[in-house]
Symmetry: C2
Subunit: 199 residues, 2 copies
């Protein structure tokens, strides 16, 4: 890296903590802001400092938000008898963008990974069974990712909920829309065949 | 866009002023920082606020820096009789990274573009002739980009320096290293042929 000036170097270094931003691009971003958009830069600095200081987790679903309870949990129109368990806040946004789900969420903020010291307590897994009983939840949808850890997490939750009255479901895995069988991996095809439905 | 919470929405919006960052990626960045790297987020907010508040232009070469004179102009080892004129601070960094240039720079911060109200005064073009005389500069290297505006800017400078004792040169345009003739545009090939040298 070429050193420009201490403050600019520090900014370039700090920008690299953003996911997907390397040294070259960080330099471009820093110089672009300082040359053309100082107002935007100030606004970003303030927005970032405020969010870091004030955003916590929703007391009910553990989604990131600055209020006691997030907008989804506070919305009386959402079906509170439907609980979708996801690994992270971005998953909530992905499902919300799809636009068909009307229930609530539970955000694990991770997946079971004993090697990294992430056990059921860190993920709040034991709260789910309690929630299922308290709120009279009808259905818990396990929407963890179809990775080894995601499946292990889903499996753990299903065991923890074994005695609860809630129905337990797992999102379908199969060929994505627009996907071509030719380019789909074998594991996905196995799932697509196993999950076939009559038409 | 899915609304998450006012503070997070404001952060996602603010991140989009960074070049090349769209709504989807801004969301990913914001949630990633809030979930996994709040320390980095705070550091970035501070670095950005400091840089926006304190970075100005070098009094001699107009490069971005927070000191009165930038590190390159302040370096007594740099040849002050060689002046390279570039459009923007990223060009200085590109040339420094190449590592072979030992002279000084003059940063225009743009290029002649009357339609956008950018004339010779905004680019400090008239200072170059003065500099060339004052400092006893031997050679002015025109390294503006080979675009219509970049060429016009180079042409204007060459006319402004017509009476000055400094030699005036333009960086070479031709086939880039690793480039294949097959994929190079015609204009570049014309330049490469015109600029041929005996071997």
């Amino acid at each position: 890296m070429i050193r420009v000036s201490p403050l600019i170097d520090r900014l370039v270094e700090a920008l690299q903590m953003l996911p997907g931003v390397g040294p070259k691009w960080a330099t471009r971003m820093a110089l672009n802001v300082l040359q053309h958009n100082r107002g935007g830069g100030s606004a970003l600095a303030t927005a970032l400092a405020d969010a870091v200081a004030k955003v916590t987790r929703c007391a009910q679903c553990r989604m990131l938000c600055e209020a006691e309870v997030c907008a989804i949990c506070a919305n009386p129109k959402r079906d509170e008898r439907l609980l979708c368990v996801v690994e992270s806040p971005v998953d909530v946004i992905a499902i919300e963008q799809a636009g068909s789900y009307t229930g609530r969420y539970f955000v694990l903020h991770g997946r079971l990974s004993p090697i990294d010291g992430i056990g059921p307590a860190q993920l709040g897994l034991d709260d789910i069974a309690g929630l299922a009983r308290e709120r009279g939840i009808d259905e818990v949808i396990l929407a963890t990712n179809p990775t080894v850890e995601g499946e292990a997490t889903a499996h753990y939750i299903s065991e923890a909920l074994a005695g609860a009255p809630a129905r337990l479901t797992r999102i379908a895995h199969g060929v994505p829309l627009g996907g071509e069988l030719e380019y789909i991996d074998g594991g996905t095809i196995v799932h697509a065949l196993q999950g076939r439905r009559s038409v």
